[in-house]
Amino acid sequence: MSQITPEIVEQHGLNSEEYEHVLKALGREPNLVELGIFSVMWSEHCSYKSSRFHLKKLPTSAPWVICGPGENAGIIDIGDGQAAIFKMESHNHPSYIEPYQGAATGVGGILRDVFTMGARPVANLNALRFGRPDHPKMKHLVQGVVAGIGGYGNCVGVPTVGGETNFHSAYDGNILVNAMTVGVADTDKIFYSAATGVGNPIVYVGSKTGRDGIHGATMASADFGEDSDAKRPTVQVGDPFTEKLLIEACLELMATDAIVAIQDMGAAGLTSSSVEMASKGGAGIRLDMNKVPCRETGMTPYEMMLSESQERMLMVLKPGREAEAEAIFHKWELDFAVIGEVTDTGHMVLEWNGEVVCDIPLAPLADEAPLYERPYVSAEEYKAWAKVKPLGDVPESTDIGADLLKLMACPDLASRRWIYEQYDSQVGADTLQKSGGDAAVVRVHDTKKALAISTDCTPRYCYADPYEGGKQAVAETYRNISAVGGKPLAITNCLNFANPQRPEIMAQIVGCLEGMAAACQVLDYPIVSGNVSLYNESKATGGGSAILPTPAIGGVGLLADYDKSATIAFKAEGESIYLMGREFWAAPNPVRGHLGQSLWLREIHGREDGDAPPVDLTLEKNSGEFIRELIEAGLVSAVHDISDGGIAVALAEMALAGGFGAEVEAHPDYSPTAWWFGEDQGRYLLTVPDVTAFQEQLAKGTRDADTASSGVRHIGTVTGDSLFGVPLAKLRDANESFFREWMEQ
């Protein structure tokens, strides 16, 4: 008699074709436990079935890469026997349903991905996208997400040092909460997840298993219908206090040599952790479900396997080391239970009350996993579908100062102080630069080294031109890290898109990935970890609204000596301000002074028209190297990359950070609007205290023809207390007003 009906299969998010593969993999009908396991392992969230084919295009190696994608997090060598371990992950769907817990557990999950590999987490960042501020739910969502991130990160004692926040109506029904953690480990104390050693004990540690979050991974792999509120019970509840204990207990045990393999229980909980550990080790696994610590009575194996209760880990120990490990976990008041063993059967076997309730061959579970090469439209067809208007005529700004004031007050550029002051940014006492600059800078404890970290993506560019947008997201992290003096080493990503079954959305995915791949290649800046979040579209807000394509990038770089770094703040009256970028002023070019897709055009004229600015990757690399040389030589006192809002906004941010105004002059061959608000890529502003020494360095010449295309142009002087005729006090007030008024009204 079959207990699996087509309805049950559908409820598990598997289509009929996928169910056929289940039958083939198993050679018989599954029972409910087995069906549940297949459904979560083959969900988009766990299997990357729509994106895997294209993810392979991303460069993932470099001499300094210790571990690329495929493990819990990526690992790079930072010298002196130390490694940086990092990853970014989405928690979008849960955060829309229950913002506090959704965001909090997102932070908890990414922390576990990093410390499970042996690292002490040293920095958290968050890339957030919200809908329009006047959407009825949005204030509640922003407050909840920010409080959730703070509530979790502050308690575990990992500083939240940076991130980004955007607002756009495309996120009205699907906000994005992407959390990134960076940790530091000794290279000889890195832990992987491959379960090996037949007979070795499998140990469960952390919190007990409850009924929360069952089918969270399946939920995160579907569009929101009109009943998103009814899905609230699938959102997990976080306990940062337990996480803190788990971090300390795991690191204490990791200092011994008792662990063979370790993995956190993230999405799909016990299922994905046990399946992945056994598959990676080419082993089998036997678990006694009666031994799983449960929070509630009467839980079935199905519930235990699919629960997404937080703060749990699975380990394989060396034989005979159980007592030593148990003592550490009991000291930290955490559950510890030997629940099974590694076998050589190649099967995952679950026993309950003396009976086998699941017996799945692991190889077919992986090999038969669906892989879709979903159709996508051409770049030309995409452009027609996206309906991005050509730039056309752009009126000249009538008052640069007035436009700047408006830009500095707009939601996308307003001061994020209301957000970041709710995060403990300094615990650890190693934070050298926090939110508000180009990249966060965190000292590697007890050394002169520091990590520079930045998250970036400009979704409106990605929408207008997925390929250029993908390049730009990678390049902007490269630029931000270079601007503080760090050498960019590697990135993680969080690829947020809408429904991949639509060929236009698939074109966004493919375009962005190919753009990212090109940037990684040229910049020598591989991807070492990442996460994909699809189906970010919602009918809940009326109409099938897809998010803007948002491939959020988290970049990590290294400062060998943090005394040689830069900040964005103007430092002293009288210093010279230079623009650095493509030396185009020698030959004015109509594609420069790029106003297409600019924030100025959107905020001042309400138009989202034109092409995204192109990214010249060779120039990007050379300019980054050039900037780092100037910082190292101590020839520049402030550096800021130029992004949203162009030169004018970059100047304003430098002025507000330093408390000095500036007098500046546009290039006569460009319209003032294009010069001040254009968003050409690959540019920096710098201030120079000693112009003679600076000129001498420049006169030493360039290394090659490519470097020669990067040039500097003097554009003004740090002086006074106003910019474009606007007093700094007024500019500051405008910049602070958005969150203050929105949150306090």
Partner: protein, 225 residues
């Protein structure tokens, strides 16, 4: 002489390492680390520090459960014998919950966690912990807390002020604390609780070194005593 200090770690403490690092950087001697479940402190301590963090996840009330840890009886006895005890942030909350200092720390007036560098003024420059400062000196020290809103009844506040037991006051609006109190001393002057984090203002790299004199004062006072 060597300076024997101890930092107590409760489950959920997260500034314990930072405090130990600060003590070592200023005194030149590593701080001893003490686990909350221990019944006794190391012998002959010169200084006991209770760190910031979220002991027991702030469950029940911040500091309430840690105040009942086995080690706190030993800390109270040591304080009674005159051993200097410094509680920072959650450590201050533990001190009020254990009755070693008067008053209570309530949720910040704006209901949010607040992390930023604030201006403080030194109110009492005569204590063991503050002798390295000038009276009225302005300091820049970071705060990072959710429950830093100091409350005590009017009589207690008057007595604290009258006895010179207000060590630090906020020089700007921060968290709603009565009379802008940021740190207070016990009657004997050997127990200081404060919400700001002086251990985050020790090195040039921290952006402010205004916290350093607090540790230096205590060490110097003890060496001279």
């Amino acid at each position: 002489m060597s300076f024997r200090s101890a930092v107590v770690t409760f489950p959920g403490s997260n500034c314990d390492r930072d405090l130990a690092v600060a003590l070592e950087k200023v005194s030149g001697t590593p701080a001893l680390r003490v686990w909350h479940g221990d019944a006794e402190l190391p012998e002959k301590l010169d200084f006991i520090a209770l760190p910031g963090g979220f002991s027991y996840g702030d469950y029940l009330r911040s500091g309430a459960m840690a105040a009942r840890s086995p080690i706190m009886q030993a800390v109270a006895q040591a304080a009674g014998r005159g051993v200097p005890v410094l509680g920072i942030c959650n450590g201050f909350q533990v001190l009020t919950e254990s009755g070693l200092l008067p008053g209570a720390l309530m949720r910040n007036a704006n209901q949010h966690f607040i992390c930023r560098t604030v201006r403080l003024s030194v109110e009492n420059s005569q204590s063991l912990f503050t002798a390295g400062y000038e009276a009225g000196q302005a300091l820049h020290v970071p705060v990072a807390h959710h429950d830093g809103n100091y409350f005590a009844d009017e009589d207690t506040l008057d007595r604290l002020e009258g006895e010179g037991r207000v060590a630090f006051r906020y020089a700007e609006t921060v968290n709603g604390s009565r009379r802008d109190i940021a740190g207070i001393l016990n009657e004997a002057g050997n127990v200081l609780g404060m919400m700001p984090h002086p251990e985050r203002a020790i090195e040039r790299e921290h952006g402010s070194t205004d916290g350093r004199a607090l540790f230096e004062s205590a060490i110097r006072g003890l060496v001279e005593a």
